[in-house]
Each structure stands twice: as C-alpha cells, then as structure tokens.
Amino acid sequence: MPDAPNPKARMHPSHTSGDESAHPRTLADTPYAELAVTTNFTFLRGASHPEEYVQRAAELGYRAIAITDHNTLGGVVRAHITAKELRIPLVVGARLILQSRDWFSLLVFPTNRDAYGRLCRLLTLGKRRAAKGDCLLTLEDVVAHSAELLVVIVPNAALPALIPNELGRLRDVFDDDRLSMAITRLFEPDEVDRNATLAAWADAASIPLVAVNDAHYHDPSRRLLQDVLTCIRHGCTIHEAGSRLFRNGERYLKPAAELRRQAVRRVPCGAASKSPSARPDFISTNCAMNIRAKSVRTDLLPCSISKRSPGKAFASDSPKELAASCSIRFTTNCA
C-alpha cells in the first residue's frame, strides 16, 4: 500500500498554498500541454475548431497541444496547418470510446509514422463494423494495434469497484511505460476524494498520472455553444437539458499556471510517482516531434472521416444561429 494521503495536507489550504509558494519558480517552469481536446470533429460535442485550439494554446504558451477527437483523426489536418504556422508542437491523437468498457475511454498518441498508420487502420476497422458515424472498437482491437502508441486512461464519472483489477490488467497489456491515467480538475462534486482514490489505485498499479482538462472548447465563452450542441445531440431544449449539460464551464484551455496550481493541489503529494503536470510533457515530447517530422497525408485518414466536411457551421458565435445551422447539419448527417 502506498503512503496513505494525508488528509490534513488537503484539508488545510494554507498547507498546500505554502507548498506552492515555496517552489514557485520550479512549478511555473514546468511545461504544460493539454492532452484531452475534443474539437468540432467530434460530432455535437466539441465546440471549437482544431485551429482555434492550436492558436489559443500558442497564446497561452503551452509546450504542445494535442487533438483527440472521439474515434477519429479528422481534426488533425487543420490543427497541423495552424500548428506549423505558429510553431507549436502538435500531438496527434484520438480518444477511443470502447465497447463494454464504460468506466473509461482511452487517449491514444502514436509515437511515429508507423504507429500513426496502425491507429488509422484501427479506426477504419471500427468504423467499417458500425453504422455510419459510429465506431465499434473493443479493448482487444486496441491492444492488437497498440505497438508504439502511448495510452492515457480517462476514467468516466462513475467509478466501479473493479477498477484496481482492471488497471493492473491494462498496465500489463500496455507495458513499457506507455500507459498513464488522466486526472481532471473540473470542480465536480467529490473531485478531491475521487482523485485521491484514483491516484491511490494508479500508484498501486504503478501507472503515472497525467493532468488533463478535458477541453471541449478553446475559450470559456464557447460554453454557450457547447450547451446548445449538447441539446441538439439529445434532441431537447436548453430548458429541458438539465443534467445532460456540463455542470460548469471549466472545460476550456486554461492558463498553464492556473491549471498547474489546481492540478498539483488536487493530488496528494507522494501518491503519484511523478508529478501529474509533468507527465503531459513526457507524452508531448515523445509524440509531437515524430509526427511533425513527417507531414500528415490526408489520404491516410480513415475513409469515412475524410468524407465528412469539417463544417461551416461555426462561422458565427450567436448560439441561436448556431443551433439552427447545427440542427441542419444534424439532419443532413442522419438522413
């Protein structure tokens, strides 16, 4: 059993803030890269374009920015063009939603050109199995295509008791320090306890933690649009949406300093072998450089992705117009 988290350290804010002021420089110098980014290429979930994320990440001085859409690499091309202009490392990746594994999803990042090819083949495989717009993948499929992929577990809201066992199995499957576990600071209820539990489990399975902010939009003002998209996805009005919306508007690209402060305070010291905010850098250095070396060729993208137009829907910021244009997109895609 690892060191039990000292409750006092969390309970007394003076304690943690004291920690922070003791090493302000080292913390501020720790680079940050956002690894969980959902763009508008994830249909009716992401509320910002890939290029907007890249631009904002460059403004905030992020070390790198990842694009991880749900079961697709579609947003990568646009992100890549902007990233090249702005000279910010782009981490190519995807978020895999797996069948019969409902407590987590996986962020996967290819470390080189071959791994990227394998990821494309994996996505094509999943998309061919399912109806249009859907993707059907199992953990076994991912494992079969996972050579040279870095993998991050993103636990969902509900944490079943079987997680410690599953974590051990996942660690064995993705060996060679390729696996990390994401923790978030989204001001959800019981987040402190939840992160402490996750940290303890991860530590027991010797899986390093990685801080992510699960961005769904690049700027807080896009929360309106994201809420509207959620309504369209559920076919309800904003007044009926209730708990189907996000609880708050924290899922944007935050200034690195703020995020780092929050993330560090979230996780009790000593629970994780490495600082969770340092881990993104490890991943971004390993993934971003290699992909950038070879330019991404669009013809490598899984076929069903390249067909879908990125959509002109988000030309305006007015939620009403967006709702109208999005619902049109929605119907045309479903027909």
Partner: protein, 463 residues
C-alpha cells in the same frame, strides 16, 4: 391549399400548393381564401358522428373526413344493407354533403373502397372482398407515405400486386405494418371500431320563479342540483373533478362558484362540505334568478373494487386515492391551495430550482427527474443567508464562518463543486462554488461563494 374539388385536381391543383401556384393553374376566380381551422373541421366531423348515431350505436371518427359505422345487427332496421346505404346517401345529400359510402365485411376494405373505388357507393359482400380490393392502389391500405413510395419505386402500385409477393419477403422488406393492414382488409385478422362517444357536458339547471333573496333557498337548490349530478355521475361510474355553479342575479350579473377536487369524487357529503363555505360567502342584493351546475371535468372512479389484504389496512387502492383526495380537498379548503402541495424533482443544476411544488390536483403522471445521487443537504433555506467567510486562498475552502451572529471555525470542508448557472435565463446568475462545511460545533452547512462578487452565503444544512 387545404382542399380542392375534382375539377381543380384535374387541372393539376394539389393539396399543399401555394396560393400563387393554384391561382396560376385555375385563375383567381376559383380560389377561395378562408382561414384553415382543422379543429373546427374535427368538431364538425364529431357533430356528424353524433348525427350518424341514428343508424348505429357504434360510430367512430376517421379524420380528417371519414366516419366508420359498425352496422352489424342494425341493417335489418333499415330494410337490409342496400336500402340502408341508399338511405344514408340520401340523408347526407339532403345535408348538402357529397358522400362516398362503402359497406364491406372488414374495416380496411370499407375504407379502401369508400375512398378509392371508382363508384361512390358500394356494397361489398364477403366473397367479393379480394376481387374488389386487388385493383385498388396500395395507398388504400392506410400505409404511410414512405412505404407507399418504396412500393412505387419497385413498381408495385395495386393491392393485388402486394398480395402476390410472398409474405416472408413482405414482412422482411416493409415491416409488419403493411402485412397487418393487408390482413385486416382481407379479414384475416380482426379489427374493431373504436366507438366515438359524444360527450355532452353534464349539467343541471334550476330557474326560480322570481328573484330569490333568501340565500338559504339558493343553497338548498344548489345542494339539490349537486345531488342530481352526483347520482348521474355515479350511474356512469364517474366522479367529479371540477364543478362549476353559474348563478345569475336579477341585476343581470353572474357569480361563478368553481371547485376543483384533488381526485375524482362521487361522495356527495364531501363535495358539499368543500363547496358549502363558498356559498356562505355568496352575496346577492337583488336576488338570484337561476342557478346552473356543470361538471367541467370528471373521471372514472372504481367504485366497488374487491378489497386487497394488505397489512392492517383493508381497502383498495381506489379507496386510498379517494380518501387522499378528500383529505387534500379539506386541507386546501381550510388553508388555501398554496399551502398544500406536492413536490417534484426537476432536472437542473440550480439548487433552488431543482424541485417544483404543485397542487395535488395535477394528476399528470410525470414522475419527476431521477434521483441524481449527489449530496444535497436535508434542508435548503428559502433564501441563501449571507455569511462572512474567511478563506485562506482566494478560491479555496472557508476557514472561518460568521453566520447568524456567531463565529465558527471550520473543522472540515469538501469542495468546491462549481455550478455555472443558466446563461439562457435572465438575469444571468453568477457561477457558484459550493462547499460542504463542518463547523466547530459539529454542524454541517452548505456554503457557496458567488464567483463575481466573492460574497458567501449559507444555502442549507444537514439537519
């Protein structure tokens, strides 16, 4: 374009065209522009349905413009099917209603023939069903447009063609609905007419010989009217939900005494007990001329159910509901409707809007939002109570709380749970950071900080 005649249709006019298009086809002289009122059409159809009760007790409406008459056992009263058909057509003609009528062994067949057969009046015998049906278009089977279009695409236009397709293929390609409709029309599966029962509002009326100023007399008559109404309701196994007295005074003014009951009720003593106080408040300086009692809403009541054995309470579920309704009626009568209420969970993050209260009379079966299983205090204050709070870090948990005139230290704090409040409703409320806080005296309170002002409030407690 809502409707057109055959001649206009021959010139290319179709339902759904724009006015300009129709005018261009047949000229403005022949296009009548009137408000389109489907409700009025339906009311007129219902009236026609009541008229058709002359012919048979079982009449169903088939909107927008059809009536279904189940004439089994009635035809001999009119001298057989054929003469009945002729009589019906003649009567409708006298009402200036052009008609298409079919008598057939099945509902599906009757509808198909009446609407699609070349001749306006037909009498189809059992042997003729298939022969008459097969040349008719597939749309006569009451199938949806999509199925009809799909059939048309593969060159199937008539019912006969459909019938020739093997049944298994039919079910696989078009689903069970087409097959069901076909079988119903051919009489292979039974189909029944859902009778349309015209409901006349239940009412009683009393006209005094002259203006009556003695309100005791008015009260007595009101009670008598209620007795009659309750008897009539009970005979139909109904109970009253909303009752309304309209009292006409000699000076041509009206008073309305209206009473909603929580549950449908046919207990005269109870209904009168909640109505009576309203009559005591009634004033009529010039006297009452007439009084009318109407049942605005009623509902079925299971009057005599077999009792269920359940613990010690030997009664049926219907009795429970009735007894509950009477209790709530009496409480609402004494304290007012606003004081007696049910609460319903609402799916929203805003704590003070996460439930709604409504009167028990509201019998909609809405169960409310599911239990979200997040930690909420057992008591929420009507208004968040301002508190002075000291927090050590700007967005950190409270360390010291001054509230209701006393200062407390903080033993334990959990949070924050950040709630960004609705942006779509005005005024937009600022986001809140909620903390569960245990004060030094052991009390657990629910505190929040407003994001823009930084002010703190105590919003509830675990009492």
């Amino acid at each position: 374009m809502a409707a057109c005649c055959d001649r206009a249709e021959a010139r290319g006019v179709r339902v759904g065209l724009s006015i300009e298009h129709a005018v261009s086809l047949i000229g403005s002289r022949f296009v009548a522009i009137l408000p389109f009122t489907p409700e009025a059409d339906r009311t007129a159809l219902a009236a026609l349905g009541r008229w058709a009760l002359h012919f048979t007790p079982v009449v169903a409406l088939h909107p927008p413009d059809g009536l279904l008459l189940d004439i089994a056992g009635c035809e001999h009263l009119f001298g057989g099917e054929s003469s009945m058909l002729a009589l019906l057509a003649a009567r409708l003609d006298r009402l200036c209603l052009p008609s298409r009528i079919a008598i057939a062994p099945t509902i599906g067949c009757a509808i198909a023939v009446a609407r699609y057969h070349a001749a306006p009046h037909n009498n189809v015998s059992v042997e003729q069903v298939a022969e008459v049906l097969f040349p008719l278009p597939v749309t006569a089977l009451r199938i949806d447009d999509v199925t009809a279009d799909t059939l048309a695409e593969i060159g199937i236009h008539t019912i006969g063609q459909v019938h020739r397709i093997p049944r298994t293929d039919l079910a696989a390609r078009f689903g069970g609905e087409l097959l069901r409709r076909l079988d119903a029309a051919l009489g292979l599966v039974p189909e029944h007419v859902e009778p349309h029962r015209p409901v006349a509002p239940l009412s009683e009326f009393h006209d005094f010989d002259g203006p009556v100023t003695n309100l005791a007399v008015v009260e007595f008559v009101a009670h008598e009217l209620l007795t009659c109404i309750v008897e009539r309701l009970s005979a139909q196994q109904h109970g009253a939900r909303i009752l309304e007295y309209t009292i006409r005074h000699a000076d041509r003014t009206q008073s309305v005494v209206r009473q909603s009951l929580t549950r449908a009720n046919q207990n005269l003593a109870h209904i009168w007990s909640v109505l009576h106080p309203q009559f005591q408040r009634l004033q009529s300086p010039f006297g009452v001329e007439s009084i009318r009692l109407e049942v605005v809403a009623s509902d079925t009541v299971s009057a005599h159910q077999i009792p269920l054995w359940r613990d010690d309470v030997i009664e049926s579920r219907g009795d429970t509901e009735r007894a509950f309704g009477e209790l709530i009626d009496r409480m609402a009568q004494r304290f007012g409707n606003a004081v007696v209420f049910a609460a319903l969970r609402v799916d929203t993050y805003v704590p003070e809007q996460a439930y709604t209260t409504r009167p028990h009379t509201d019998t909609q079966t809405d169960k409310g939002a599911p239990n979200q299983n997040v930690n909420r205090p057992s008591r929420l204050f009507e208004e968040p109570e301002p508190a002075r709070v000291l927090a050590i870090v700007p967005d950190g948990p409270p360390a010291r709380v001054e509230w209701r005139g006393a200062a407390f230290g903080v033993q334990f704090a959990r949070g924050p749970e950040r709630l960004a409040l609705p942006w779509w409703s005005a005024p937009v409320m600022p986001a809140r950071d909620y903390f569960e806080v245990q004060l030094t005296n052991g009390r657990f309170v629910w505190l929040f900080r407003e994001s823009d002002s930084g002010r703190w409030f105590v919003h509830g407690e675990w009492a």
